[in-house]
């Protein structure tokens, strides 16, 4: 069987099963099974072996730990402190609480590496607060979901860890490269909130005094130091990303249990359990997705793709657009982590063939796949935010589409101007970015 037939079989079975509501992790594994029987050199034994190989990676341990750190911070009520701080910073702008939502998401993104933890933590506090102040529920949920996308773009980031682990890119470099686009997405969302506030006449807070601002900074200083510890530790070569994630867990535990005393010891096992369970569900997909990706590579499907696309010519920009579009489309239907493994494997040779910088390729991929967290039918952050706002996904769709416009603008900027993204990592860690 040729590459094309195998690709059609794999993707055909996979898509068919997913539409029938077979869980994605299982659909990926099941799609592999017929292919294992086609070629006599292959056996389903390899499915199990590829799964084991993909889990046996020290770097992936950072995923449950970063999730755990974020959940511990959420349970300890750190979000309330961040809300108080954000309110003194941007509460006086038109649409005050909307800006607060975006800024808190940005701050939280620097503390956690997970957008779902961001959506759950920030949404849990701010969606009810926004509705109470007269903001429409669809807008509140849509904004929370879109802002939580920054969780995986601003460092630390679980998706960047998976990307770095699977496609072998410097994770420190990726983290640094995420800062500028993350901040741009935040600012673009705040611009959108301003327009919404003018049109819908949303309320504002009185401007906070400098003293109030300094007091809020003081009370949230300790959680705000988390990004410095994590990113600084990794970039400065003190910790590996996995070690940094454990430091984040210990730091969150100390803050919650001993300093703020908002987290009781008896809550801790439950937080550990829930974090491990959620991490395991995401990571289980890595195994079957890796087997799927391995089969694609075994039958030279990525090469077929490169040959087909390169016939049309094109350089970094057009490949950047292809990468973004592919991830945006697949991100609507499957979870971010298997998307990275499957598409990353197919697209990496293409990006390489036109001389695209691996960090540039990775950032385009991570941003596009992060947008998939708010695009239905499968958008985890949107599901969480809508559940918190007591509305259906359909209700929130219009506002999500409007808010996605400026965000897609940022993505286009990232594709067109690689230098703007690479400058910071080049400056901070030149040893990893040629």
């Amino acid at each position: 069987m040729g590459a094309l037939e195998v690709a059609l079989l794999l993707f055909g079975v996979f898509i068919g099963l997913v539409i029938l509501r077979v869980p994605i992790a299982f659909a990926l594994g099941l799609a592999c099974i017929p292919v294992f029987f086609i070629d006599e050199r292959l056996t389903p034994f390899l499915l199990l072996n590829e799964m084991l190989k993909s889990y046996n990676t020290f770097i992936l341990l950072a995923v449950p730990f970063f999730l755990l750190a974020a959940n511990l911070m959420n349970s300890a009520g750190i979000t309330d402190k961040l809300v108080a701080l954000a309110r003194t910073m941007v509460g006086h702008l038109p649409g005050g609480l909307g800006h607060v939502n975006v800024v808190v998401s940005m701050l939280f993104a620097g503390i956690s590496g997970s957008s779902t933890a961001d959506a759950a933590g920030v949404g849990g506090v701010l969606i009810p607060a926004m509705k109470k102040q007269g903001y429409d529920a669809p807008f509140s949920s849509a904004l929370t979901a879109c802002a939580s996308v920054m969780g995986v773009i601003i460092p630390p980031s679980i998706l960047m860890i998976v990307w770095g682990g699977v496609i072998s890119v410097s994770i420190g470099g990726l983290f640094i490269a995420g800062i500028v686009p993350g901040a741009m997405i935040g600012l673009s969302l705040m611009g959108a909130v301003l327009i919404y506030a003018k049109v819908r006449k949303y309320p504002v807070y009185v401007r906070a005094s400098l003293r109030e601002f300094l007091r809020a900074v003081g009370s949230s200083l300790l959680p705000l130091m988390t990004p410095a510890i994590i990113v600084g530790g990794i970039v400065g070569g003190l910790f590996t990303p996995t070690e940094a994630s454990v430091v984040a867990v210990l730091y969150a535990l100390i803050l919650g249990v001993f300093i703020y005393r908002t987290l009781a010891w008896r809550q801790v096992p439950h937080v550990f359990y829930e974090s491990a369970r959620f991490a395991a569900i995401s990571l289980f997909c890595i195994g079957t997705a890796s087997a799927f990706g391995w089969l694609l590579a075994y039958f030279h499907v990525p090469q077929l793709f490169v040959d087909t696309v390169s016939r049309f010519g094109g350089g970094v920009t057009s490949v950047g657009l292809i990468v973004a579009l592919s991830f945006l489309v697949i991100g609507c239907f499957i979870d971010a982590i298997p998307a990275i493994i499957i598409l990353g494997t197919i697209l990496a040779p293409l990006a390489n063939s036109v001389g695209m910088h691996p960090l540039h390729f990775a950032i385009i991929g991570v941003i596009s796949i992060a947008f998939g967290l708010v695009t239905p039918p499968y958008g985890l952050c949107l599901m969480i935010a809508c559940a918190l706002g007591n509305i259906t996904i359909r209700d929130a769709m219009r506002d999500v589409l409007i808010l996605l416009v400026p965000m897609l603008g940022v993505l286009l900027f990232v594709i067109l101007f690689p230098e703007a993204i690479l400058a910071l990592p080049r400056w901070i860690m030149p040893q990893f970015v040629h």
């Binding site: 509501r21 077979v22 869980p23 992790a25 084991l52 341990l61 491990a276 569900i281 979870d335």
Partner: protein
Amino acid sequence: MKRAIDLFYRLLQILLTVLMTVLVVPVVLQILSRFTELIPRYIWTEEVARFCFIWIVMIGSMIAVRDGSHFQLDVLPKPKTAAGQAMSRLIVHGGMLLMALTFVIFGFRFAQFGLDQESELTGLNMFAIHVAWPLAGVAFTVFLGEKIWADIALLRGGGHGRA
């Protein structure tokens, strides 16, 4: 029967919590040994952490089969009748059962293959890791069997009962 399955599920939940807690230890030791003189630089910490992690993923996947929380896509309209819903669940669980049986059948050979190997750093017999796959296969089968059984009973009863 349900009591036995409940008990097994509870056991998995406890194991998962314990493993997640244990997972912190080797990584902390690794950091401590690098930055302080308190403990020697063990080389086994990394491997122990990785092996705990593999078990966390596999046990978590078993738990998620029972509580139905593996990620899935919702594009098809939901059937209106209880019988239709039971049928659509049967299709999903039947598909998942195929994968579970693959894990059981090929997992048996996979575990045997593990018996012949030792890990690089701690010399642990790899059976201890490989056996997670046939075990997951069995757990998937038990949990899916429970769901399939309930839906068949529902269909036989004429599609009344829970929707």
